[in-house]
Amino acid sequence: MTASARSPAAVVELDGLSVRLGGRPVLCDLRASLAGRAIGLLGPNGAGKTTLLRTLLDFFRPSAGGARVLGQEITGDGRELRSRIGYMPESDGFIAGQSAVRFLRLMAELAGLPPRAALERAHEVLFYVGLGEARYRRIGTFSTGMKQMVKLAQALAHGPRLLMLDEPTNGLDPPARSRMLELIRDIRDRGETHILLSSHLLADVESVCDEVLILKQGRVAACCNLAEQRRANRSFVEVELTDAAPAFAQELAGLGCEVALVGDRRLKLVMPAAVTARDLFEAAARHQTAIRWLDCKRDSLQDIFLRAMEDDRGGV
């Protein structure tokens, strides 16, 4: 990718990125430009999601190609880049003997905050993730869910521009998982921080992300913009009428819809932006029929993921 071809708004740009670990290739020629507010990294276990995150953090050196995070080369000044990133690892990450507030203060200070500001932020972030009452307890005594929240808190403490979350809902019970996803969505919606979420749970990625990179065996299997996909899917509608009404189809065609008849009472429509579901109901009423069933086509992330897993050539 040439400099002129780079998207200035891209959060992560992968430019033929390859990584070899222990003598074997783990990531092969990854190419993508991701600019979403919340980007999902999807793939089965061993696809290379965590390795990609660690490479972007400059923990692993690329064997070929390169990547840019927030417009900065990962092989450049790693310290400068990491000061803008918050990282929540998949595995345990805490100092058992320290209280949560002390641990977060240390992490914030290491990120560059002066001691006073770091302490203030540590308290704020612990309250934000719901650990306010437990902030003076040693982390070693926390439950799994609380430890996950501490990991999220330490990633947030210094106010990063990019938050890298590696399997954030691992080991959480349903309410805790819901709370974690709610927090991630809240951070996303504030619009100040980009999120790079690695997960093998499709529902988590679908509920948070607007862009998805799917990896399979260290290669890009698919890269798609979920937000655009959702917008596009809104215009695909399937309708079933109570009575056959060919004039109904003709009227819809007259409104600009693309209509395909599936049987005499069933239609598939592609609606222009100006046509709404209300127009369909009104048209049906005019033609002495009623809509018994209406379904907006939902090309779910699961469909996209399954297609990507089936298609070795990749690229959606």
Binding site: R82, G93, P114, E192
Partner: protein
């Protein structure tokens, strides 16, 4: 912002210089060390030999006080080289125990529960991390060793006068260089063992075991070969010989002092290699 509002906001305030970030690691390590009363009490006790020596020097030069106590300068004996070498030993041995207590607790807790990747995901590299830990050990061990040693030397030079300080400059050199080398080598070794073992009590045991094993192995080789070749791996004898050489005294090792220096350098380098291999954000399994 009040914490109860439970909102999160990005940080837009000032940041500390990246070059001094390792001092955060140092500061937290020191705070952790001195949070133990037992450690603090032992640390204070490590100053006793030096404080007693300062008192002795003051007393031996204060004829009026000696007279009141019914003593004479002759009874006190001369403050010979042996006195300063003994003081060195009385500083170095407690300092070693200080370091043995402190060093494993600096690295092992960071590795035990995967906190190291969190350190390294920030603007802090592995060198800065090790430098921060080493600086903590240096700051703890310096006052009761070479700093107090130099204070004793200076007091004696001032009290004695008549060019005593200039004539005995090797004492100052031995206190400064000997202690610094000892602190550096043993600190690196302790950090390396702690990084390898990852469990504080085991790291402490492994450090003592390694010193014992190396000494026993060296002595055994000496006995079998009826030579001094085993001193090449005898760490405590190597440092003792280097310090004796710095004092200008005959060395206890049968090997040239350059070999003793090489032994210390090899231990230091080996420790750095171990730290380089073990202190990684993530280990790669081959």
């Amino acid at each position: 912002m009040a914490v109860y509002e439970r909102v999160w906001r990005p940080y837009a305030g000032p940041v500390t210089p990246v070059g001094r970030r390792f001092l955060v690691v140092t500061r937290y390590a020191l705070a952790e060390a001195f949070s133990s009363r037992l450690f603090t009490a032992f640390y204070a006790a490590c100053f006793l030999p030096s404080l007693l020596s300062l008192g002795l020097i003051y007393l031996s030069h204060n004829l009026a006080l000696l007279g009141q106590l019914g003593l004479t300068r002759e009874l006190m004996g001369g403050l010979t080289l042996i006195f300063f070498r003994l003081l060195f030993l009385w500083q170095a041995v407690p300092a070693f125990f200080l370091m043995a207590i402190l060093a494993p607790g600096l690295v092992a807790p960071d590795l035990a529960n995967g906190a190291l990747p969190l350190y390294l995901s920030r603007p802090l590299d592995r060198r800065a991390y090790v430098l921060g830990k080493l600086a903590a050990l240096f700051l703890v061990l310096s006052p009761p060793t070479w700093m107090m040693g130099l204070a004793v030397y200076l007091l004696q030079a001032l009290e004695e006068g008549g060019g005593w300080g200039r004539a005995n400059w090797r004492i100052a050199l031995a206190y400064l260089v000997g202690h610094l080398v000892w602190i550096l080598v043993i600190s690196l070794l302790a950090l390396a063992i702690s990084a390898w073992v990852r469990f504080r009590p085991a790291a402490l045991g492994a450090l003592f075991a390694l010193l014992f094993v190396l000494s026993a192995f060296g002595s055994t080789v000496n006995a079998i070969t009826r030579s001094s070749i085993g001193d090449a791996v005898h760490l405590t004898r190597a440092i003792a010989s280097v310090v004796q050489h710095l004092f200008g005294a005959p060395t206890s090792s049968g090997l040239p002092v350059a070999v003793n220096w090489l032994t210390l350098a090899a231990v230091g380098l080996l420790s750095i290699v171990v730290l380089n291999r073990k202190l990684r954000a993530h280990e790669v399994v081959r």
